[in-house]
Amino acid sequence: MARIVGAITTSHVPAIGGAIAKGLQQDPYWKPFFDGFPPARDWLAKVKPEIVVMVYNDHGLNFFLDKMPTFAIGAAGEYRNADEGWGIPTVKPFRGDPELSWHIIEKLVEDEFDVVSCQEMVVDHAFTLPMALCWPDQNWPVRTVPVVVNTVQAPLPSAARCYKLGNALARAIASWPKDERVVVMGTGGLSHQLDGERAGFINKEFDLKFMDSMVNDPAWATKYSTVELVELSGTQGVELLNWMVARGTLPEKVKKQHSNYHIPISNTATGMMVLEPAA
């Protein structure tokens, strides 16, 4: 039986890729952000996952509006990064785990989640940056299963539906017969808005309440509609839906191993958390 040993949630701003490429981790602008990650790496060294289930949103690299999924699951043997339009350096390919992917797809469809299966998929910064933050040598020691959530094109899945998807993912993983350790990552957010007269919107109060809810009241955000979440966290802050999926894979009671919150990187309030199932 596979076991979810914990979840890591983190922001995924493209500029982080540039900072990594230029080695700016100790630069005063970047240090408060990068300093969040050594504790996560220590934790990963301890829990030694074989598999990362990566919950993120595609930013218009693999999906376009001709075929825009609500939820998509990767089922490829390998996932490559690609040029997203800004010349962020691409990273080494990621190993997939098609057997586990198909197991998850089967269980999710059985559970009445109408997912898209993707046997070929390129992954963008929302997938690659959290991996690079966790494993800076970029020798990925895990196999991966991408879970893509639509945060781009309204209607978005509700926070409640995302949380339930997390619950269903947990059931699927628990029924995987191999004795393997799984870390679920949820990437994106926290509050930020790139577009419109409200560009630059950040809501520290909401973010801190949201991060607290991850520990103490996991369904808290499900009381908001996605439009209300845009109002509270910005047009891109709504990427926190990926956090809801990741949180939904853990039991109600969790232990916070670590967290960090910093304003701003680029236009974004960045947050990260390491959560474990409570013993």
Partner: protein, 117 residues
């Protein structure tokens, strides 16, 4: 009265819904093509021809010509695809933010920092 809700209830914000997606389809499709470096080069080499190939309407063409993000959103552009257009000119998200809010980049950065307090 379920339709009494305004379609765009958040001030200063255009939620990218079906109506925006319809309006902006050609524009976003062009921007999506900028994932590919060869397409970015083709746009730079002949902007008119490239926009014509994707069938941009006059409003979209004008907004592209002006490199004006608010106009691009008005014409149906989506932030995630428009970011690839901005990338051609080496603009970062703070340049974009400053442009849309009518601030200098330093003013915009100060605004972001203020949110930390």
């Amino acid at each position: 009265m379920p339709n009494a809700k305004p379609r765009q209830p958040v001030p200063g914000t255009t939620i990218f819904d079906g109506e925006q997606a319809r309006k902006g389809y050609a524009l976003n499709k062009m921007c999506y093509s900028f994932n590919d470096a060869a397409n970015r080069a083709a746009f730079v080499a002949n902007e008119d021809a490239y926009c014509a190939k994707y069938g941009l309407n006059a409003q979209q063409r004008e907004a592209i010509r002006n490199r004006n993000v608010l106009q691009l959103i008005e014409a149906g552009g989506n932030a995630y695809y428009l970011a690839k257009f901005a990338g051609i000119f080496g603009l970062d998200m703070q340049d974009i933010g400053a442009q849309q809010t009518g601030m200098t980049k330093d003013e915009f950065k100060a605004k972001l920092l203020a949110a930390a307090r």
